[in-house]
Symmetry: C2
Subunit: 238 residues, 2 copies
Amino acid sequence: MDLTRKKRTRLYEDVVEQIRKLIVDGTLAPGDQLLPERQLAEKLGVSRSAVREALTSLVSLGLLEITPGSGAYVKEAKINDLIDPLASIMLKEINDVFDILEARQVLETGAAHLAAQRAERTDLYELHEFLRDMENDVNEGRDTDESDSQFHFSVVRASHNTVLINLMTVLMGLMKEYYGPSRKRLVENRQYREMWALQHTEIYEAIKNGDPENATDTVAKHLDTTIKEFRRLQGTDE
Amino acid sequence: MDLTRKKRTRLYEDVVEQIRKLIVDGTLAPGDQLLPERQLAEKLGVSRSAVREALTSLVSLGLLEITPGSGAYVKEAKINDLIDPLASIMLKEINDVFDILEARQVLETGAAHLAAQRAERTDLYELHEFLRDMENDVNEGRDTDESDSQFHFSVVRASHNTVLINLMTVLMGLMKEYYGPSRKRLVENRQYREMWALQHTEIYEAIKNGDPENATDTVAKHLDTTIKEFRRLQGTDE
DNA sequence: TGGTCCAAACTGGTCTGGCCAATTTCCATA
DNA sequence: TATGGAAATTGGCCAGACCAGTTTGGACCA
């Protein structure tokens, strides 16, 4: 038996790879229009169906966007297109309920450390905006889900590390899919909402003052509080 | 103009969603075989081509595996299937060359902290194995790429946090695609290889002794060394 | 009875050709 | 020059066919 050749290469996979290469090496820039399926098929010497399957695959990878009647366009590949499948994969593997929050703690404390060193005026402005948003939400009894997430995201953005930012995007996607229900219950507790808002202020101050250690500590404390509260909620649940 | 309805739902996307649901809710378990394309088409009342495009999409998302002549099988969705597209997306957004290493530092220091608290005998054994592998590689002048990666990965695995492990997988994929060339040059320097092996030992000892702070520090120091060396290499390059 | 081997049935991969609906193009008309 | 609408173009979907592997079910042999 021939163990080297595992699976014969499928034709449409070749097409995928060819187009993919053109995109990654910049020959095809975001916004560019691909040749029509029929011409592409002729040019590559394959049938239209093979081309279609290739395009379908590229669409599901977030590399293309297809408008019926118009054409296929190269898309600015954004991580959001992969969040859903990524989240479902990671969710299946989770065995401890607090893995996500713990991972956030690891990532956000590190990001805060960097943010305190690198935050620029625009970053501080953004942080302050979301800080105020959340305070308003608390005062007016609104849901703080959105403003809370936004603030945490801003902290990571202020680290100016795109890799950390992308990883945070993944974690936020995970949060939404995993903690959706219990989070709703958590934020109904006004006492905790207020404590959170206060802790956010501390974080903001630490970053503004350019104090990495303090930024790290306040973020760590903040997420500790969160984890403890989630744990308490879970305890009353079952 | 109607802004609410952006794009009409494509038929094959419906099929994707239906099958996807069956997989995530467990009706279709990994290893299960799907109905043949022709039957699936008949059952869903669509053409075979629509089914094929749906299956193509699911394959590229890593949810299915198709064997020609045999059938389509539900796959244990692994993050590796999404690493390539994920890496290319994140690579495009990177503006500082050391973003990846910095992100690794954030993630691995946190993971080491947890590992020192949670590592079990099997984890320590695995760590020790890769430690020895690398020492052997160094002594015999072999490439240390593999054994080095494996050790770092083991540290994160010892944290027993599946989310961190998955994020580490992403980062390692990024490393391979980004630092491939210069890393090759780096490990040619025997002096650094030996220093690395020594630092790995320190990390191992800290985890073994259940000393979270020390584990964090040694990992931080280790990656600092790495970043500095990469920086030096880059300086001599251009 | 038990194992072997081969043909038939099945399955995915690809192709051809066709129709529809939405979009774009372009020209005749106001 | 602007505009309205027909024609061409494009992607979405379908039907039917053939091929190359895989699986299956017996028929045949030991």
